[in-house]
Subunit: 284 residues, 2 copies
Amino acid sequence: MGPRRPLGIAVFADEEGARFGVACAGSRIITGALAPDRARSLADADGTTVAEAMAAAGHDPAHVGPDAETLRRVGTFVELHVEQGRALDPGGAAVGVASAIWPHGRWRLDLRGRADHAGTTRLEDRDDPMLRLAEAVTAARRAAGEHDALATIGKVAVEPGGVNAIPSRVTAWLDARGPVERDVRSVVAAVGEAAGGEPEEESWTGPTAFDGGLRDRLAGLLAAPVLPTGAGHDAGILSAAGIPTAMLFVRNPTGVSHSPQEHADPGDCHRGVEALARVVEELG
Amino acid sequence: MGPRRPLGIAVFADEEGARFGVACAGSRIITGALAPDRARSLADADGTTVAEAMAAAGHDPAHVGPDAETLRRVGTFVELHVEQGRALDPGGAAVGVASAIWPHGRWRLDLRGRADHAGTTRLEDRDDPMLRLAEAVTAARRAAGEHDALATIGKVAVEPGGVNAIPSRVTAWLDARGPVERDVRSVVAAVGEAAGGEPEEESWTGPTAFDGGLRDRLAGLLAAPVLPTGAGHDAGILSAAGIPTAMLFVRNPTGVSHSPQEHADPGDCHRGVEALARVVEELG
């Protein structure tokens, strides 16, 4: 018996946000969570904007924007993904169903100082933003521990970046998330205080609870455990836009992710594909 | 009356070492202070070596190496430079004569950790080298203050450099100098201890005292004050190679250097040129 409903496959652009800084940019744009003008003006490390990069690749930046008609035709959205922690036990189920995505966001810290010669400027005459980066990094880890959250500074840009020059400016990006929004906000505030400036919010996604009925139906169908995740996903963006959405996770034996060492066993991957096929059959 | 001795003008390559990491590379090569094989294999941030960059620009890397015959023909070397601190008083002389260059060097800190997802890796499971960078930066400033020296971390590279990825590796460069070599070494050791690793020495220049007779002769000729500097110069490399060498400094009203704000008054620059002309006449 063929499916009663049409099936579609979606590939969203720039889920990691590695180049232009906003994760899940494609799903945020189609749902309107990311405004077209802001999307077009996002710039990479070299100052190239999304609009310029699109034009250079032969695309028309005017086409960037929400697409309600396409979304209206999506009855249910299901995303299959490797689990990114160690929530799926080696001795247990290879596939899980997502309950929720933690609230999470990205903030930019603009730490400004005064460029000066490293060999001739007395310590007391320096305005060195690298010292404030050190304070911010230390505060992020401490505050995350205090507030039962996660905080990471994984991207840093130093200007002018000379070995013998005190930096004029250090830009650092803070990733913060956790089960409770208030706690995440407390971490960001603590980092801002330590760095001596207000972190600039580049993206924010509130807590996302996936469709409860769908979650329970799929967990029952697959006899799969239900687990939350701290990682953002396009599924979370679509869910926040009101589309019934579910996620399936494939076991990650080491929990390592966003690394060349990220890994899932081929057998578990096959079980993930089988689970997705059963879900599509169930919903179709 | 024309000069009795021939005059030459030297332009040394890559005095700042901004691209390949070794300051005064040109003068170090011609004097043999930088070995040809090491010079050719120095790599920039993109992994391009000096040898590759030379070949791409139409030069033969085989020509890199010491040139004793050229150096033998240099009777006296004089370098004119903007002062890089505030040692020349606004109400006093516009031109000074160098006494010495502080011992100074550059060290690379390779801080390795484990790349992981910023949103799913528990704090206690992380091996985040950014935390050790923070320790190194803080230790560098503290140790410099304790040892009457200067220490700066002005260049940092983070891999993979994703906002949502715990870094696998942070590379940082330490610039350290001071009046006393032992104190500089103590600062470097303290930074290494804080960062949990041995700093790799990329360059080192011991204390350089310029030719005493020449210094006194020029200070008398110009009625100029005598001052040390914490900045490295090609003149220091030539002096260490046994060539009678002197430096003239032009007043820097703010002391700012290695910055777009570096500045000297045009009148003071003219006095610097006049002083150099008098010195050349005196020596010529």
